[in-house]
């Protein structure tokens, strides 16, 4: 009814974007300038709805705006009149802003209002809504300042605020046939959890993700979404895809910070026991799935801390250890036992394990570093990335002598390789006081296997990139300590039958990079220790375990495997997917008698 309609005025902290440069900025008005809304609800309800997002004045101070009051400059698509009270310019490029998208209403967003005539068109058709959604730019996560973060080990992105998450969630088109789900190795129901964020049901969004992914806080941080779920997002065809990973991180962090995580009560207790070898993502997932089905589960971990690559490999600034520890505590609370410092294949053999357990899952990852096999590899201060990162992360060498492990002596660090491990090593070196850190990579920037975000972060932090450069020889001083790395310039050859351009050395282009530490991060392969006493587990030429892809069962009865030990180095979520497949198969086998 007309008499229920009020006009409210708000101080604005609206997310506005420039249609020219597509940058988002918050346009904050001065005191005397307000955005004035015609309330579409009764006054109090409107205030309640808007207050989390806008600085709302109380209803009493709402003002009446007469029809035809001049509130110019944005054009209402309905009446072709202006939307806003003054002439704003884009905070980034200075161009006039032509539209305003208000994200205040989670259900009605995006919400437009014409301030001149008070007309609204929140009852958008699906097509209209999608058209508008396409105009919302992807929301980047706020990050630690690059100058500050090189001096600490804190996480670089701060994560979304609720407002940013709402805005980003509003970009999702809620496709009927969501391609993103197919891109996720564990088929998280992505549109459903994003829709729950929009409905302000973040706790339900967390439950939705956990139906299929037990480590969302980890995946949201380290999964290469750009080549998985986000790669298939339909929005990516004309703009940037929905930031699914950032939203996943937001949901998981919200759940943890709000203390909403509840340990499930396991009702059925079975007498059968399962051993899990390795406490990385594959092992943790298999353990969680099996304990929830009532099995007794014991994880065997070779190191003194559980988490596998999540604790020894990925640095604190990318994945805080507190998050991994939280997930491991969650498993312990469910009843999973964890035996640390136990190397299966050495401390206990596989056959000995099978005497005590009904099934074994191997999820030991790809922990054996690959070296280039070039002269000088045995010089002092030539490290594998595994060793370097383990020293720095797990053993906290940067806190020596407070911790026992010393940091490698040297200020000029070269990192060989262009993957995420190389970026982690280079960025760790920067944070631990190295004066010059150079990534040496044989191919061009286009082929860098690391995530774009990691490369960007590394460059911002001062890591130098020497591309199309191949190391050919380490040079040592008379004490056998590294003092230089001889390299060759490369050029990319013609595409071969696979379409890939291979790097070819340029004759006589040798040069030397002065350095005192080298970190080799060219790849990893499988660690053979376990298999030295379990020769009946069939492996391929790379040393990876061969499994039945339907069940992840190995050639040895009652033994299953998954994750990097099967596929070679891959992603956290792929390892988790493999852990789940094996857990299902183990359950099927053991419950059948």
């Amino acid at each position: 009814m007309l008499e229920d309609v009020k006009y409210l005025k708000f101080k604005t902290y609206l997310n506005t974007y420039c249609p020219h440069c597509r940058n988002t900025f918050n346009y904050e008005r001065k005191d005397e300038k307000y955005i004035v809304f015609k309330s579409i609800y009764k006054g109090e309800e409107a205030e309640l709805k808007l207050s989390p997002y806008l600085d709302v004045f109380d209803v009493e101070s709402s003002v009446e705006v007469a029809e035809n009051d001049r509130l110019d400059d944005l054009i209402c698509p309905k009446c072709k009149k202006s939307l806003i009270v003054e002439e704003p310019v884009c905070g980034e490029c200075g161009s006039p802003v032509a539209e305003l998208i208000i994200t205040a209403f989670s259900k009605l967003m995006p919400f437009f209002i014409c301030l001149k005539h008070g007309c609204t068109w929140h009852g958008l058709s699906k097509a209209d809504e999608n058209r508008v959604k396409l105009k919302i730019p992807r929301q980047d996560m706020p990050e630690q300042d690059m100058k500050l973060r090189v001096a600490n080990h804190g996480e670089v992105p701060y994560g979304y605020t609720t407002e940013l998450a709402q805005l980003e969630a509003g970009r999702c088109l809620q496709c009927k046939d969501p391609k993103c789900v197919k891109g996720c190795p564990v088929n998280v129901d992505i549109p459903a959890f994003i829709s729950l964020i929009r409905d302000e049901k973040v706790d339900d969004a967390a439950k939705k993700i956990k139906e299929t992914n037990m480590l969302p806080a980890v995946c949201g941080r380290v999964c290469p979404q750009e080549s998985q779920c986000e790669a298939l997002c339909i929005l990516g065809l004309r703009d940037r895809p929905v930031a699914i990973g950032n939203l996943e991180k937001f949901v998981a962090d919200y759940e943890r910070k709000m203390d909403l995580v509840k340990v499930p009560v396991i009702k059925t207790k079975l007498k059968k026991k399962v051993a899990v070898v390795g406490s990385g993502p594959a092992g943790l997932t298999a353990a969680a799935d099996l304990i929830q089905r009532g099995y007794s589960v014991t994880i065997y971990e070779a190191l003194h801390e559980a988490g596998g690559v999540l604790v020894y490999g990925i640095p604190e600034f990318r994945l805080p250890k507190s998050i991994v520890n939280f997930e491991i505590d969650y498993l312990k609370q469910m009843g999973v036992k964890i035996e640390l410092n136990c190397v299966i294949g050495n401390t206990i053999t596989m056959d000995e394990l099978l005497e005590h357990f009904d099934a074994v899952f191997i999820g030991v990852g790809a922990g054996l570093p690959v070296f280039m096999n070039i002269p000088g590899e045995t010089l002092g201060n030539v490290f594998s990335a595994n060793e370097y990162l383990t020293r720095m992360n797990l053993m906290k060498a940067y806190k020596f002598p407070e911790y026992d492990t010393p940091k490698p002596k040297g200020n000029k660090v070269v990192v060989l390789g262009g993957g995420n491990v190389a970026m982690d090593s280079a960025r760790t070196a920067i944070r631990t006081g190295s004066t010059e850190v150079t990534v040496v990579y044989r191919r061009s920037r286009q082929e860098l296997p690391a995530r774009h975000e990691e490369v960007r972060h590394a460059e911002e932090e001062g890591v130098k990139f020497m591309l199309l450069t191949a190391p050919v020889k380490y040079i040592g001083n008379d004490q056998g300590i590294l003092k230089g790395l001889e390299c060759l310039r490369m050029q990319l050859g013609e595409p071969d039958s696979s379409g890939r351009r291979r790097p070819i050395p340029i004759e006589g282009s040798n040069f030397v990079i002065n350095c005192d530490v080298a970190v080799v991060a060219i790849g990893n392969s499988s660690n053979p220790i376990l298999f030295q006493t379990a020769t009946d587990i069939k492996r391929n030429k790379w040393g990876n375990v061969e499994v039945n892809p339907e069940t992840n069962q190995t050639s040895k009865e009652h033994v299953y495997a998954g994750g990097d030990i099967v596929t070679g180095a891959a992603t956290v979520i792929q390892a988790m997917g493999a852990g789940r497949v094996a857990a299902n198969a183990i359950h099927k086998k053991l419950s059948a008698g």
């Binding site: 096999n373 070039i374 190389a422 296997p449 050919v472 060219i522 391929n540 790379w542």
Partner: protein, 151 residues
Amino acid sequence: MQAFKNADEILDFAMESEQKAVDFYTELAEKIKNEEMKVIFREFAQEEVGHKAKLMKIKEERIFTIPAERIADLKISDYVDSVVIKPDMSYQEALIVAMNREKAAFNLYTRLAVRTDVPELQSLFRGLAQEESKHKLRFEMEYDEYVLTEN
């Protein structure tokens, strides 16, 4: 260095070299501990059998000019350290052994081509060198793809 009088002699020598390679890999397959690596070396031996058959065909058909192709040289074998042959070799080491053998054969034919003045023989040596460089490229590409994955 051996002197060759005609194309037949060269091809006989080349076939003999390929047979030596077959024997080398077969013997290695016997010595090696790991089942999967045995399979690999048997596969390498099989590839050498194929090379020998190709040479046999050239000899029978008497077409001594091998069409020149541009074969990429990744030169990985130029800068990797040679490896010691041992019963517990890894696939990476096996690839290095194979690359180095193909490189040695390439070098041999290239040197022989320089040492002869007979154009027909020179062309045959170059052709054989080209074949060996193809074989080397096959191993180097495997090394490039799967060993130097993030490099």
